[in-house]
Symmetry: C2
Subunit: 155 residues, 2 copies
DNA sequence: TATTGTTATACTCTATAACTATA
DNA sequence: TATAGTTATAGAGTATAACAATA
């Protein structure tokens, strides 16, 4: 008997599970783990396209709003302007986005997809569809939709 | 008329709202904004205690699992061991946690709350309760519970 | 050989202040 | 005066590799 207990202990040396003390019912804790998971899945899907969530979101909004300005894009993405500059730089350098001064307001830049950027987005949309379908498979379509609805209400 | 349009434009210089192109229905996008919001609220509530979400979670688990090891704590928190070391350091330096070598396995450390740490957690629990009640007020209790349930299923 | 804790390091995301050029 | 974009910088959070001590 004592040997069996010892064997069980040796067979499970991956560490002892802790009493979670209700932490697993805390919204902030769940949000952090869930976001880590979803972003890891996103990164795995989008690795071939070398797109982070914010880069994909930026391309998506520029596609839907050709001629938009960086200020409005930052506000829509929930990112500060200074943190958007280098990311736009990278999209311009990759030939996906054009940034040109707005003739009506020469302080502002006008953002558009280049033809290469438009072709690139065909692939990106397909990858995002696969990513989304995988998430829906994981939690069920009702739960997925409910999740988005409540999260939208939260913020 | 033209003057009115001009006035309306000047009265709303906060920027133009963009076509969100379905981005606001994307789970990853919603998760990012929701987590930003919840963490900001958390930070506002816990500023007097100088606790980040991970620091509070660590204290909570040490309180519920006196004598636990850093490996198991890191696994429970969803954090890598190297990233936990300095945070434990700070809790030890603040006199809230004691870290002593495990006599049964001298590679390992044993973590416990100090008496000061136990007193500190009375305040921390009260602050977390207020934080949680505010989140529940925002989305409703049913939605809050549903949210935690689905997020738990997601990860 | 494998594991615990640690150090060093790097990369990302986020935040603010201050600058420029325009308005 | 205020705004658009930029630069510089600082602070979290997270990731891996490699090491010493111990099992």
């Amino acid at each position: 008997m004592a040997d069996d207990i010892g064997a069980a202990r040796r067979a499970a040396p991956e560490g002892r599970a802790l009493d979670m003390a209700g932490l697993d019912q805390a919204l902030g804790f769940r949000l952090r783990l869930a976001q880590q998971f979803v972003f890891r899945e996103f990164a795995a899907h989008f690795a071939p396209l070398e797109l982070s969530p914010v880069l994909y979101s930026a391309l998506l909004l520029i596609e839907a709003n050709p001629g938009c300005r960086q200020t409005d894009l930052a506000a829509a993405l929930g990112v500060r302007q200074p943190n958007l500059v280098e990311r736009i730089d990278s999209l311009v350098q990759r030939g996906l986005v054009s940034r040109s001064p707005d003739p009506d307001d020469r302080r502002a830049n006008v953002l558009k997809l280049t033809p290469a950027g438009q072709r690139f987005m065909v692939r990106a949309h397909a990858v995002h569809d696969r990513h989304t379908r995988q998430l829906i498979e994981r939690v069920g379509e009702e739960n997925h939709d409910k999740l988005v609805e409540i999260l939208e209400r939260l913020y």
